[in-house]
Symmetry: C2
Subunit: 364 residues, 2 copies
């Protein structure tokens, strides 16, 4: 089982390679890219403990000179300050402009490594090796990189496309179940916004809440269709001038929930799941799509074992205020991605705060 998906961005095009066991072949997989000799692997302690040596061995075997760097895990560490550690190692190992950073980890490692690579010497190579479901189907593709500002997620960042994305589904075996479910939220998202067939295949699956209950062939299909969806959208709109915004389905309310809970109690994917429930309800209220579609989406989110209610203790006024600090705000109008049928969404900034409030009140 092996899939290669092309992200078409002219000179910056690249492949997403999905295959069980690709971690052991990392060196061979990056050799055709004609990278410089020096490689800096950036990871977090746990992932590095599981997979670091395997990656080092593979990359060294093909002649690269390797240095490693682990960053503390968790959103609170996704800061400019933590980034300093990567810069220090880049300097210590004298990474030149032809050098490469390999991001081995989840979305946080990927975003930070991508941003470090984007800004070190005004831009060096980065290869994304995502180890969470969420990073595989979303964060590692498309070149969005960045760190958090104390008051907002990913406010500081850059667009910096990877030279390649390498996905080994086998690493998901060590992923905590809760994180697997969180990643499934983004998979469901692609079903709603882009790939209706993926949506129905997910509906046919017996379970979606644990990796062990998913057939390897279905898992491969989930990864492939999700990456394909993201690749198609990004290829059409790299810098998020239009279409790409649909990828933020569920993220408008989702970001507010994450921000107000301090990025610690609710996982990003869980927040997106909650945000999709809210967006779907808003779409129903605006007459954009029907109760039946809303129920089908809710059923999938529940099948993935994801929360569908707002965390207790959240204040609706705080959510409304937080929406206005989102990056996507334009002329003080909050932009929503709303579904119109399975596989199709629309973008609007015409949602009144009354409607938002009403929907949120029904979600406790």
């Amino acid at each position: 089982m092996e899939s290669v998906i092309r992200v078409n961005l002219e000179q910056m095009s690249y492949d997403i390679a999905i295959a069980p066991g690709s971690l052991e072949k990392l060196g061979e997989l990056i050799t055709p890219l004609q990278l410089g000799q020096k490689v800096l692997i950036v990871s977090n302690p746990e992932i590095f403990h599981h997979y670091g040596q395997r990656v080092i061995t593979s990359v060294e075997k093909t002649g690269f000179e390797v240095a490693c760097c682990t960053l503390p895990a968790g959103e609170p560490h996704k800061t400019l300050e933590t980034l300093q550690k990567v810069y220090d190692l880049a300097l210590e190992h004298r990474l030149e402009r032809s050098a490469t950073m390999i991001a081995l980890g989840g979305g946080i490692v990927g975003d930070m490594t991508g941003f470090a690579a984007s800004t070190w010497l005004r831009g060096i190579n980065v290869v994304q090796v995502p180890t969470t479901l969420l990073a595989m189907v979303d964060a590692s593709i498309g070149g969005k990189t960045g760190v958090n500002h104390p008051q907002g997620k990913n406010l500081i960042g850059a667009f910096h496309q990877p030279r390649k994305v390498i996905i080994d589904p086998l690493v998901l075996k060590t992923l905590p179940e809760r994180e697997f479910r969180a990643g499934m939220a983004e998979v469901i998202k692609y079903g709603v916004i882009w790939d209706g067939e993926l949506f129905t295949h997910l509906e046919q699956a017996q379970r979606l809440d644990q990796m062990q209950f998913i057939e390897p062939s279905l898992l491969q299909e989930i990864l492939q269709r999700s990456c394909q969806s993201k690749a198609e959208v990004v290829s059409k709109d790299e810098k998020e001038l239009g279409l790409r915004a649909i990828l933020n389905y569920g993220h408008t309310i989702g970001h507010a929930v994450e921000s107000l809970t301090g990025y610690t109690t609710v996982l990003h994917g869980e927040a997106v799941g909650i945000g999709m429930v809210a967006a779907s309800r808003i779409a129903v209220k605006l007459g954009l799509w029907g109760e039946d579609c809303d129920r089908r989406q809710l059923a999938l989110i529940e099948k993935a074992g994801l929360p569908t209610k707002l965390p207790t203790g959240l204040n609706i006024d705080d959510i409304l205020t937080s929406l206005l600090t989102d990056k996507k705000v334009k002329n003080k109008k909050v932009r929503f991605i709303l579904p119109t049928e399975i596989g199709v969404v629309t973008i609007t900034d015409q949602v009144s705060s009354e409607v938002i409030r009403e929907v949120l009140q029904g979600m406790f």
Copy 2:
């Protein structure tokens, strides 16, 4: 007297407008760019004291909503930490993706503001309003932005082209003489690397060491020819894959001198002047150009009142080590830009450390 120079970079093309009194017209000058309503002016305390109100008045008059931010002056403050202040204000004033940062100041303000604009929400607009001669003819043009790493200048940065560069030669009246002379080093650089006619016009000038002794028409020509040189080189090679490297004439040794003196005792332009003297001597030793050209360049640097010797106390081994940490190092080979005739340079990494050592020993 008014010059407009186009920097050709496809969709990212922009104008450099040079005219006495343009500071008062800033609002009008940026209005055609169709920027969003919010503007953040970033400056340093002294420049802001002199020109801040004038700029605010002009920009507010044309309907922009203005916030201001001053950063401490000096290379030691050109850090990620200082940048945090800009991000904090960007958040406080809710700068959206259509918003604009205006860099009102010298090279440090321009580099930092450009980098902040490049990374805030993954990229917002920046307008460069340089207030030093050096920033006018060099730093404000071409999109190089960044901050220093404790162990190296501009190691962290991005390419981010401004939407416009606005140069008002009258602001040079408040520029300290020493900084004016430092800027003249970059002007002489353009004469050596690109515009031989500029070089001979500089030779014909009575004095180059103080603004008050330079005719307004010559000053306008100096600014225009220098900006034109930079614009032509950058248009041909935005990302420094080849040609653009010639702009680093004098910077190889120059950066080492700055770095080893802690970025405090030697100004950037002064270091570049010293670096040009060294590069010229290396070129003589390699038989690339003659003693006569070397003397003519030295005479110009002296006429500009710039130092032509290495600072006392510098150790030659330290300089050689420092050369290897420069961004431009490739495969551990130091790259030099060396003149071959007035207006023409060549790029080489074939300079032995013996030759470098010999030249540097003659410069105390």
